[in-house]
């Protein structure tokens, strides 16, 4: 089946102020099918936010795309003019960001901001747009919709604001929603609510979602597939349960191991420390000859420092970039 979005060998670089570059994305290949939920799991500096922004060509001015393509239904989005891509954004593919506090215009009412998105992409009359806004508000807020639509962003809580942002994103019925850490600044109860909203939308509207996060538990009962990123590359990919329960890449294993859980509550006496990944996140301005995780990996081998591993099959349709699993030629997918 034709994927909805096909990212092919994407490379993105940022220019730094004093000269020099930071390599944010290296050779990233990713496919999203219709109605599929794909989780992008990674820590800060892994390039996950750059990936989300690059998909809609919304990178900051100091970014350069060094080859690669983002193909949406046969068109390479990276080659479109700004008018053409404006027509696509918010309409066929939507993108929502992390900070609900700053994602909304401070002096425009919430409902009006949803209407703006409709206005940008359709020629309907004002009444038709207003009607649609009401429907969206009811869909996302149940009974409180009217009141919240008339409120200003500073009168709403973080969770309510993020729901307005989601309403804006789905107003024109896009096929794909890219969400970059949409719940990171919210408390866990609200986080669950927002995931619930997204799940319901996915069902009702057959919406594909690319969910970028550093919190693995959000993806647990939500994503179909997980893609793990480290130092600008995808290093593991597979079904959600596969990746979370039996992660293959040493980084994924180490990262998931650092997560505190209730079951491991120290309760003071044990004074045992939480596992960490030794060392620091890699300097992204350097070009690595070998695997970027090598210096922090507990299972490193000599070959790891010499060259970058290519993908190998890891069972159950997953793939992993690690010499532990041998290598196969041309993992073209």
């Amino acid at each position: 089946m034709e994927p909805l979005l096909d990212v092919q060998a994407l490379n993105v670089r940022y220019h730094q102020q004093g000269g020099g570059h930071v390599f944010a994305l290296r050779d990233v290949c990713l496919q999203i099918g219709a109605g599929e939920v794909v989780g992008v799991l990674g820590e800060s500096g892994s390039g996950k936010s750059t990936l989300a922004a690059a998909m809609l060509a919304i990178l900051p001015p100091n970014a350069t795309i060094d080859g690669g393509a983002v193909v949406w239904q046969g068109t390479n989005l990276l080659k479109l003019t700004s008018e053409e891509i404006e027509r696509l954004r918010g309409n066929r593919v939507s993108l929502i960001f992390q900070e609900p506090a700053t994602a909304l215009h401070p002096t425009m009412r919430a409902g009006a901001q949803i209407e703006e998105v409709l206005r940008a992409h359709s020629n309907e009359s004002k009444e038709a747009r207003r009607q649609k806004v009401q429907e969206l508000l009811e869909l996302i807020f149940a009974d409180d919709g009217q009141r919240i639509g008339a409120a200003y962003p500073h009168q709403l809580s973080g969770g309510q604001r993020q729901r307005i942002v989601i309403a804006q994103a789905i107003a024109c019925n896009p096929g794909l929603l890219i969400a970059d850490e949409p719940t990171a600044s919210l408390d866990p109860v609200t986080q669950r609510e927002i995931i619930g909203v997204l799940k319901a939308l996915r069902q009702k509207r057959d919406l594909a979602i690319l969910f970028v996060t550093h919190s693995a538990e959000l993806l647990e009962n939500f994503a179909d597939r997980i893609v793990v990123m480290y130092a600008g590359r995808i290093i593991e990919e597979g079904g959600t349960q596969e990746v979370l329960r039996s992660p293959k890449h040493p980084y994924t294993q180490a990262m998931l191991n650092c997560r505190p859980t209730l079951e491991r509550s120290g309760a003071g006496q044990s004074d045992s420390r939480i596992p960490v990944i030794p060392g620091d996140a890699p300097e992204m301005s350097l070009d690595f000859a070998g695997c970027a995780f090598e210096s922090r990996c507990g299972e490193r081998m000599k070959i790891c420092g010499e060259r970058m591993p290519q993908f190998s099959e890891s069972g159950n349709g997953g793939r992993v970039r690690c010499f532990k699993f041998g290598e196969q030629e041309s993992m073209g997918r």
Partner: protein, 320 residues
């Protein structure tokens, strides 16, 4: 509502204070209107003394102030020695002319500064921005009076426009449209000078306020929703940058008024400017006070308008 009432009360207090100060400074300045007469040998000292007594100039300051307040209550604002008439009607005619000039200049100045500033911010660093910034710098350096005299010189040489005044001789007989056109031709010079002298300040502030807003999170979020660049600039960035600009607007009303007094004198526009100058030189006490009070009212009104506009434009502001 209570907020407005409080602000008005403050304004009245301010006006009262300004009137006392104006009275004090003018009355304490050496000399009075009748000094010229005194020096004139043909007029006897008794006549001068009698005139002074008639106008209360020999009474203590406080008493004179009280008399003036009473006259204010009657809508007269004191008495002009030079014109031999209550101050209020004299002032009112000139106030109308000044307001015509200042209001037009304010409106025009902002109508030009807003697009220039917004586009400079959007295309910051490119040729348009550099042109505007460069022109602003040059205008900033040139003093208003030099600008005015320069323009005047051009106008006198080329005869494109009348070199001063408000209406041409014999204009009253013409049809309304022709009268209006005549007025506009006379207004062009002083308004142009005022607008140009205000541009650097306004454009600079509009540019920096909008430039700061362009980097905000909601701009990026709106861009991700596919809002067009044009709409992003005018419907999103400018309103969000409005707060400091609204305050500046209130301030600009007062600033343009001060500037206009000088320009009126240079271009012989019959507004408060020349009237005030004449009165200062002649020590026409109550006219001076009247003029000062008018400026104060204007300044306060400008700031009050800005406050009200701010309340209306930004729902985040509370009137605690």
């Amino acid at each position: 509502m209570r907020y407005l009432a409080r602000r008005l009360a403050h304004a009245l207090l301010l006006l009262g204070g300004a009137s006392v100060l104006a009275f004090l400074f003018t009355a304490l300045a050496p000399g009075n209107y009748f000094d010229e007469m005194r020096l004139n040998p043909q007029i006897s000292q008794e006549t001068v003394a009698a005139l002074k007594a008639h106008y209360d100039l020999d009474k203590p300051l406080a008493a004179r102030y009280a008399v003036w307040l009473k006259s204010l209550a009657h809508g007269e604002m004191g008495y002009s020695f030079a014109y031999n008439s209550p101050v209020a009607p004299l002032l009112w005619v000139r106030v109308r002319n000044t307001l015509l000039l200042t209001m037009t200049a304010t409106l025009l100045a902002w109508c030009i500064a807003l697009p220039l500033g917004v586009l400079s911010a959007e295309y910051s660093g490119r040729w348009m921005d550099r042109l505007v910034t460069g022109a602003s710098a040059i205008l900033l350096v040139i003093p208003d009076i030099a600008l005015a005299l320069g323009f005047l010189m051009v106008v006198v040489r080329t005869r494109w426009l009348p070199a001063g005044g408000m209406v041409s001789a014999g204009a009253e007989g013409l049809p309304i449209a022709a009268q209006l056109w005549d007025l506009l031709r006379h207004m062009f010079l002083p308004v142009a000078i005022l607008v140009l002298s205000a541009q650097p300040l306004l454009v600079r502030h509009v540019r920096s306020a909008v430039a700061e807003t362009l980097g905000e999170g909601f701009m990026r979020a709106a861009e991700a929703h596919g809002i067009s660049k044009k709409r992003l600039l005018w419907r999103y960035a400018l309103p969000a940058a409005a707060n400091p600009l609204i305050s500046l607007f209130g301030f600009s009303i007062g600033a343009l008024l001060s500037g206009s007094l000088l320009i009126e004198i240079v271009t012989s526009w019959p507004g408060v400017g020349p009237f005030l100058l004449e009165a200062i030189l002649a020590r026409d006490l109550f006219v001076v006070i009247g003029g000062v009070l008018f400026s104060t009212v204007f300044l306060i009104a400008g700031n009050l308008i800005a406050d009200v506009l701010l309340l209306w434009a930004d729902p985040r502001i509370q009137t605690e």
